[in-house]
Amino acid sequence: MAVPSVFLVMVSGQIESAEFPEFDDIYCKYCFSYGLDWAMTSGLEESITQVTKKSQDQYKRFVWNFPIDATFKSTSPAGWPQLVVYAYGLDAFGTDVIRGYGVCHVPVTPGRHRLRIPMFVPESSSLLQKFTAWVLGRRPEYVNPRVVAQGEGREVTRVRTQGFLVVSLNVIMKDMKKLGYDVLPSDVQNPTIPDSVTKTTVGAS
């Protein structure tokens, strides 16, 4: 039987809700960011939710209940997909301004995961810029939202965390074990030692 060359990761979930204590009228967009070994086989790469107002009770939550469905294939776990969510809201003058970027990896274990991710915005460099941004409605934004999914170049950014987003993701994988990858501790409980291994040195530094 041929060993498969790719494994599949399927994510189905939703952008559930968010807390932004100071703002109202918010909508989200999301996109996936993944490495060069990965390809998306089905689902939307990017999408946009409805605009919602916060709840009238003491919790003041924004609820979208927005579905996320995506399937990825890859030959290697490096570059594992990340979900980048960015929320926009209306400011006092009625323009769309960015209210937060958030990022999380698609979980690497199959099952249901409910994640609360912080949402942050880039900060203006000076007080004058902050005032101009507030007056003109042009707040600092990232040119490419996928930059929050990368590690390089983050050290020069200053941000402000303004809220949290709750996202729940159900993950299924196919053929990871056939390619030798273990994602759960129970996978490693039945070790087998093939003959070829006794001829090589293993375990000693």
């Binding site: 999380c104 942050f120 050290e155 990858y181």
Partner: protein
């Protein structure tokens, strides 16, 4: 060769005196280990949060190791720095944590500490900032000369790491 994938993020930090923070992180591993892809060190964004109880970095970590032996399992080490409104940086803590050895998703809290000097030095630190730093940052993750240090506890770094292992069961390793 056995392989380890570390896929996750440095979520944030809490429990520090002030929360306008950034984190410098790095990975250190033994001689049998090799990094096939991914950054081995970096520095996160500076977060100045609205709510003052925690700073959030959301800094992705995606490292692919290959190894010929289990000694020298990799560790992540951190330096948490505070940046004030004038842009000055002050060291707030050192910490390290081993990459988990079992596959799955792990939520990890790493406690941090910082070195303190004499009484006069801590008085001057209170008014002027600054304070002692480690001359050799290897001491963050090694135990060799630690007995010389006097330290005080600082806050906690929060991580969410997913670990995928490959071929460990073929070598008879149980983890």
């Amino acid at each position: 060769m056995a392989e380890v994938h570390v896929i996750g993020q440095i979520v944030g930090a809490s429990g520090f005196p002030k929360h306008s923070l950034f984190c410098k992180w790095g990975v250190h591993c033994g001689g049998a280990w090799k990094i096939l892809s991914g950054l081995r060190e970096g520095q996160t964004q500076v977060d100045n949060p609205e709510s003052e109880d925690a700073a959030y970095f959301a800094h992705p970590i995606d490292i692919h190791f290959a190894t010929k032996g289990i000694q020298g399992w990799p560790r992540l080490h951190f330096q948490i720095w505070h940046q004030d409104s004038f842009g000055r940086n002050e060291l707030y803590g050192y910490g390290f944590v081993h990459i988990p050895t079992s596959p799955g998703t792990h939520e990890i809290d790493c406690n941090t500490w910082r070195p303190i000097g004499s009484f006069m030095e801590s008085v001057s630190q209170f008014f002027l900032g600054g304070g002692p730093h480690l001359k050799n940052p290897d001491l963050i993750y090694s135990g060799a000369d630690r007995y010389r240090l006097q330290t005080v506890a600082m806050g906690t770094v929060h991580l969410r790491l997913g670990i995928i292992l490959r071929n460990f069961d073929k070598f008879g390793i149980e983890c």
